[in-house]
Amino acid sequence: MTPNRDARILMTFPVTATSHLLSEARARGQYVALEKALKTMTPSEIGKEVTASGLQGRGGAAFSAGRKWSVIQLDDGQPHYLCANADEGEPGTFKDRWILENSPHQLIESMLIAAYALQVRHAFVYMRGEFSGPYRRLQAALDEAYAAGWVGENILGTGFSCDIVIYRGAGSYVCGEASALITSIEGKRGYPRNRPPRLTVRGLYQKPTVINNVETLSNIAWIVNHGSAAFKAIGSPKAPGTRLISISGHVAKPGVYEVEIGYPWKRLIYDDAGGMLGGAALKCVIPGGISTKVLTGAEVETLNLDPAEVEPAGSSMGSGGMIAIAEGTCMVRLMQVMLRFYHHESCGQCTPCREGMGWLHRIIDRIVAGQGRMEDLDQMIHISKLQDGNTICGMGDAAGYAVIGILAKYRHEFEHWITTGSSLCEGRLECRASS
């Protein structure tokens, strides 16, 4: 933890009309780490540094990046693949977009270092199909990097070659799941895969593959430049570094903010994000994408943004997609929006999610239509618990967390709607206080 808890790794410069260009990125020091890695470090040395840094995944699962990388057997004679996960589909999350549009060279450089460390010849950025703007920015940056010789054959004359291809998705939330992402790159439906085998053993076209979130990867260049010890000095012992938090909802200044892990939650909402619209009271917060359990305003104001505090409080920092909800917002309607989303996005492969998502959605629609029964609430919890851990991918768990989390704290709103046929909050989703 730095004294002022304001360390920056990614958002280190003001965004202008030209700050994403290679010339300015170079002026900020981009590609120095790549040169250092290629010319003075071995792949396994880089892997050790990443592990020592304690870098955790920033896509939602928080798995140790170094441990994921370590499964790759160097010199096994097989092609290895690296995929940057730029699918960013978790509602409330828009922080990878910041990197793609404003600091694409940080991602590119980091990917090249990772590719070198993992003996990857072909790397991909899997970007959600809707991101037209970020696609143009990243492709332009790649064109610049190719022209300058940072990507492609025999980089810096070191003998290391690597090509990066942007693979655009076509509209599917589940393709943000690592195994579905790979199956999508194979040109098929985005169906997640059962494990074993792990993707680092058999992934893209059955070859060892590492998938890392865009933000996770973008830290690599900094770690190589400054060293794992310096990285560990930022943030908290078990969760070093910073997080990009995308905050939206009923705040005055929604946007992407980089916070050191351990940063006071209250400060993010009331200082950085300008507080609630119209001075409204904070009802609750969805901490890290709608698949994380909701926490009340009172709980949130006492916590720091550190997994070591958020998890004991019963939630998770997840994808960093934070949604702040003002007093007077109807949690029943909010859950209806979420369940409609999960139902729409379920790939349909496995029984609990395929049938369960539709079931949950139909129940909440029936409650909103004024035909709910008291048993419905326990049944929704029952369905959610049955999905948890019993599906091929985490989506089964995710919808469950949303349902169980909201019902744990706001059950009375649902009971009210069931008994009276109407919302406690006039069915409101917009902020009552804002004009």
Binding site: G187, I247, I290
Partner: protein
Amino acid sequence: MLRKDLAVNVFESLRPEFDRLKKRYPAGFESSLVLPCLRRIQEDRGFIAEEDIDGLTAYLGVPRIQIEEVLSFYTQYRRSPVGRWHLEVCRNVSCSMRGSERLLGHLCGKLGVQPGETTADGRFTLKTCECLGSCGTAPVMVVNDEYHENMSAEKVDELLGRLR
């Protein structure tokens, strides 16, 4: 967005581009080309036609069913033409919290269509969509694949006026 005349063999006109695209992928990745090729075909034609699937099946050597499955799985692919301006309004959590339901209602009233429909003059197709990854600038709309952020009823009116 270009809209090539239906009579033109869109697939054949794109073949040279697909040949170049193939070279950027490692050997054995032909199957991967399904998604990017479909996207390019739709950019030119506005949707994917049966003959496009025939052409792509032959070109890539993948089973036809794979392309058919892909087309029905991903929401961005269209099997039939849409209006000149394809409008999608996000109705997920943050956008709903910042007024997307009212925005959608405003659009339905202004255009005289319901989500899923096209205006009689063929100018506008209106749809809803899920989270676009731009929650900070909610409510967000997509017009012909471009994001329009921080929307309001006034901005929508101004936008509709510009779209001929």
